[in-house]
């Protein structure tokens, strides 16, 4: 380039002076003119918002450099897409690069660009060389406080690659285990402002923008910063609130083609740029600082796997090839060596195979010879084997017969020593399972003659008889083992002789006839029994065979038909009774044809004219094969019984007549009784009706009394109450006469009240509605209470009151007993003018009854009056009624209470003019009294 300049100067030498002058006066203009011809330095600029905007922002910076480093002319190359920027660097079109931090990192990795300075930005008039990201939500979102609350929410950023408005926040979230594309609903608004508005307007729950944006919008008055709250705010000295780590601002970088010298100059120029320079103003920044550390950017991009680290951690073939070239080469070499060795081995193998085939042929020949020889030998062996097997089969067959046959077989030698015997034999002899020497056999059994009692001599034993040369035929004997069942055996045997006829031993077979013998005996017995039964049957029985010959007859038959047994057995029926009527012959034929005939009472006329009655039956009997074997004829003369029945019948008829007569009599009596009963029923109905009326009346009476009592008491309350108040001068003093009159009212009221009370009590007792109130109490307490009640009135009359108290538990109606005692005491006081009233209690000898008496020294009661004293409305002292007021009901009530409530009684002893003794006797425990009553 310097060559170019010199050529330029040579060509225009004549203007040299002029140029010098021009330089002197028009230096600035010259510089400008010169710059047109200076070497062009290209600054590639990232133009997010288009080329125009980029020029507007950065042209002044380029001009500043041109001016500061006059040798060069700095020009901008705005590149809108990142691909274009890469291409420009690949084609070495740029000397310097001005781009955002993430792009810088990418280019640093791929094209080796190096940062010279870092932009000191002016954010809302504050100088910062770093920036971060804010994660924010609406202030009123109560459910979002920490980063973890963002899970499941909608989350808005500018776009997927926006560094300050997505990636920074994403890194922080992922560090907290939240992957926005997985755990949130990601939204992209396109611009920083749109993100803020989306969150404000509720279109997204959470948003992220770079630091300072919210403050900028708030300064412009477009939002109210109080509407937002910042999540995960980091506390540090950075002037703006932020939620993420901070990252360096845009770097100014050189490319690899740029000389160090130029780079140094540019760096110095940038670092020395004053804050008020037009470049800073146009670029809206503060200036340039020393280059920051961009490893942070590398880290975040690596973590988030975005360019240039989109393939970070993935293994590509190229990488593998490059990295493992040595290993791969070694393996290929080994494979080749292996292949050569394999070929060699195959060759050797083939020659080995050929030798093997020759060897095989030789061996096959040899084998063939051996085989033919072996076959011949085998045939011989087979023949011999067959013969042996046939023999063995025969032997086995014989042995099997020998062992399984139920016949006992035993053989001995010439000396009589047992040589052969089979299993049946050992079983017959009661020998154990294991073999026993023959000489020991005799210990296990005894031999007897067929009668089972006479012992059999050794010489008589069939085997010995056979050994002597005798041919034993059906010799019966009994064998009784020591431990087992006796058997009857049938023995056959003979001597065994050699060719010369000499006896060499003997053999005997034994057949067990125990069972058949037993059956035979049973059969014989049954037969005998049947004959016995028939013979001794009380009916006349004749048994004939198929030919009507007599087989058996009963003794009755012989007697009834006047024949002898020996004359008829075996003879034909009709030969014995040649005059037998045709009727019977027909019956016999029917029976032979299998039909049963008979009659319960069959009359027939005898020769002498008398009538005999018979009961008979004729039935076939059968052979074991089911064919008719003959007939059985039963006949019974029943003339006597028939006569008896006839008499009985007549007697019964007479009896029935008599019964009928008597029945008629009874029926007459019964109807008379029924009439009487009807009459009685009528009377009962009338009685029931009367009873019902009485009940109704009684109920009415009770109702009347109950309601009367209430209606009377209410006014009485006023009478008694007010007169009492007046007498006691609550309402002012009374004179004597007034007082006396009031006392008269009060006394009358009280009298009326006691009358009502008595009437009520009596009506209740009579109606049975007064229920006893049974309780446990002490006699002494009760007497004290009675004493308290009466003491005043006794004192008023100047009488001495003596109560003999003692303690005694009582179980009865306390209130009612007290009522009686007070009544007695009141009466005593009332009818006694001087002397004393004494109460005495006494327990009966058996401790079960309590007797309480009240004695007075009063007027007494005449004997004739005493009986009606306990009746209602009895007033003995009519003439002196004013002197002795009373209801006339008191003693009657006492009696009622004593009898019906206390289960006791009252009585009186009195001498007229001397005094009276009223007494109540009651059970100490009412339960016991009730029990004894029931």
């Amino acid at each position: 380039m310097k060559v170019n300049i010199f050529r330029y100067i040579c060509i225009f030498q004549f203007t040299w002076l002029c140029i010098l002058i021009c330089v002197g006066f028009f230096a600035p203009g010259l510089v400008f003119c010169q710059s047109l011809h200076k070497e062009k330095i290209i600054i590639a600029v990232r133009a997010h918002s288009g080329a125009e905007a980029a020029r507007k922002k950065w042209q002044a910076t380029a001009d500043y450099l041109s001016l500061a480093i006059p040798e060069y002319r700095f020009e901008l190359l705005p590149l809108v897409t990142f691909d274009n920027m890469r291409r420009a660097l690949a084609e070495e079109q740029a000397h310097f690069v001005l781009t955002n931090p993430t792009a810088y990192v990418d280019l640093e990795v791929h094209y080796g660009i190096t940062r010279l300075a870092t932009l000191v930005n002016l954010v809302n008039k504050v100088a910062v060389s770093e920036f971060g990201s804010v994660i924010f939500t609406r202030a009123d979102k109560k459910d979002i406080i920490a980063l973890s609350d963002i899970r499941g929410k909608s989350f808005v950023g500018v776009d997927k690659e926006a560094f300050g408005a997505w990636l920074m926040a994403r890194r922080e979230l992922e560090d907290n285990g939240i992957f926005p594309f997985k755990h949130c609903r990601p939204l992209f608004a396109g611009t920083q402002e749109a993100v803020v508005f989306a969150v404000r307007d509720g279109e997204a729950d959470v948003g992220t923008v770079r630091t300072g944006i919210i403050e900028k919008l708030a300064l412009q008055g477009r939002i109210d910063s109080g509407d937002f709250k910042i999540i995960n705010q980091v506390e540090d000295s950075f002037p703006y609130p932020h939620s993420t780590r901070l990252y360096p601002e845009w770097p100014f970088s050189r490319t690899s083609q740029t000389s160090d010298e130029l780079s140094t100059k540019v760096a110095i120029a940038l670092l020395s740029m004053p804050p008020n320079a037009p470049a800073a103003r146009d670029g809206r920044y503060h200036g340039w600082g020393v280059p920051e550390d961009y490893n942070q950017i590398h880290d975040i991009l690596r973590q988030l796997r975005v360019t240039p680290y989109q393939d970070y951690g993935k293994i590509t073939i190229l990488v593998v090839v490059r990295q493992y070239l040595w290993w791969i080469t070694s393996i290929i070499l080994l494979v080749l060596i292996g292949f050569v060795l394999f070929i060699r081995a195959t060759y050797l193998n083939q020659s080995l195979k050929k030798s093997k085939i020759q060897l095989k042929k030789a061996s096959q020949n040899l084998e063939k010879q051996v085989r033919s020889r072996t076959a011949k030998l085998a045939e011989e062996i087979v023949d011999r084997k067959r013969a042996e097997e046939a023999l063995r089969d025969e032997q086995q067959f014989l042995q099997a017969i020998f062992d399984t046959i139920e016949e006992g077989i035993v053989a001995c030698d010439a000396k009589g020593i047992l040589t052969r015997f089979n299993k049946a034999t050992t079983r017959f002899h009661g020998l154990p399972e294991q073999p026993i020497p023959a000489e020991q056999w005799a210990e296990y059994y005894d031999l007897y003659q067929p009668d089972g009692k006479t012992p059999m001599n050794k010489e008589d034993a069939p085997l010995f008889r056979a050994l002597r040369g005798e041919k034993v035929k059906d010799a019966e004997m009994m064998i009784i083992p020591k431990d087992g069942q006796s058997r009857v055996l049938l023995a056959n045997g003979q001597a065994l002789k050699d060719l010369n006829g000499a006896i060499i031993g003997a053999m005997v077979t034994m057949h067990d006839i125990t069972e058949s013998k037993r059956i035979n005996e049973a059969l014989t017995h049954s037969h005998d029994l049947m004959r016995y039964i028939i013979e001794h049957n009380r009916s006349a029985i004749a048994v004939h065979d198929r030919d009507l010959k007599y087989i058996y007859v009963s003794q009755s038959y012989l007697d009834d038909y006047n024949v002898r047994e020996q004359d008829i057995i075996g003879k034909h029926h009709y030969d014995v009774f040649p005059d037998l009527p045709q009727k019977w012959r027909d019956v016999h034929q029917k029976a032979l044809a299998g039909q049963v005939s008979g009659a319960e009472a069959d009359p027939y006329e005898r020769a002498d004219g008398s009538v005999e009655w018979t009961r008979w039956e004729c039935r076939p009997w059968y052979e074991s094969d089911g064919s008719v074997g003959g007939i059985i004829v039963y006949t019974e003369v029943i003339t006597g019984r028939i006569k008896e029945e006839e008499e009985l019948k007549q007697y019964r008829n007479r009896l029935e007549e008599k019964v009928l007569e008597r029945t008629l009599d009874v029926e007459e009596t019964q109807s008379a009784l029924l009439n009487l009963l009807d009459d009685m029923n009528m009377t009962r109905e009338q009685l029931e009706e009367a009873n019902k009326k009485l009940h109704d009346l009684d109920r009415l009476k009770s109702m009347f009394i109950a309601s009367m009592s209430h209606e009377l008491r209410t006014p009485l309350n006023s009478v008694i109450g007010f007169s009492s108040i007046l007498i006691n001068e609550w309402l002012g003093p009374l004179n004597d006469e007034q007082k006396m009159n009031m006392e008269s009212i009060l006394r009358s009221g009280k009298h009326l009240l006691s009358l009502i009370n008595d009437v009520i009590d009596i009506s209740k007792i009579e109606a049975g509605t007064l229920e006893p109130q049974i309780e446990n109490f002490d006699l002494a307490d009760l007497l004290t209470e009675a004493e308290d009640f009466i003491r005043n009135s006794a004192q008023d009359k100047g009488l001495q009151l003596v109560i003999h108290k003692f303690s005694c538990p009582l179980l009865t109606d306390r209130r009612r007993l007290l009522q009686i005692l007070i009544n007695f005491l009141s009466n005593g006081v009332k009818f006694t003018d001087k002397g004393e009233v004494t109460l005495t209690a006494e327990l009966s000898a058996n401790q079960k009854q309590m007797e309480i008496s009240v004695d007075d020294t009063g007027i007494g009661i005449a004997e004739q009056d005493q009986a009606r004293l306990f009746q209602p409305f009895t007033r003995l002292h009519d003439s002196g009624s004013s002197v002795y007021p009373g209801t006339g009901l008191g003693l009657y009530l006492c009696r009622k209470i004593a009898e019906e409530i206390l289960h006791g009684k009252v009585d009186i002893q009195s001498v007229f003019g001397q005094g009276s003794t009223f007494r109540v006797i009651l059970p100490v425990k009412i339960d016991e009294a009730v029990k004894t009553i029931h």
Partner: protein
């Protein structure tokens, strides 16, 4: 002065019991029916209540039950007055929440002692 509520329809009896109560130093308020008695009892919260069993409308027993059921007067003693004790009356009275009862006609000279005995049992 302590207030006593007397629920009684008979004017004479009311007057009589009032004499007794006033003499004993109580201020008497009254109600002529059971229904009225319930209302007054709940409103006035008297020191104690005397209630006649035989009343027009709801009975004294029912009145006592309602007073108890109102809940506000749990501790106020209620004493019933009856002119004729039917069988089982006492049980009914105590079941309805009364603290005691006495029978008419009563003796004005001794009735206060009886009432005080019942109150003391409280």
């Amino acid at each position: 002065m302590k207030k006593v509520l007397v629920i009684e329809d008979n004017a004479d009896n009311l007057r009589l019991i009032s004499y007794v109560l006033k003499r004993a130093g109580y201020d008497v308020i009254s109600a002529g029916s059971g229904e009225e008695g319930v209302v007054v009892a709940i409103r006035e919260l008297p020191f104690f209540i005397l209630v006649d069993i035989q009343l027009p409308g709801i009975s004294g027993i029912e009145a006592a039950r309602q007073i108890r059921a109102s809940g506000a007067n749990g501790s106020i003693p209620i004493i019933a007055i009856t002119s004729y004790a039917q069988k089982g009356d006492r049980e009914k009275v105590m079941e309805a929440g009364c603290n005691g009862y006495f029978e008419k006609p009563f003796d004005p000279l001794t009735i206060m002692d009886e009432i005080h005995k019942i109150l003391e049992k409280q």
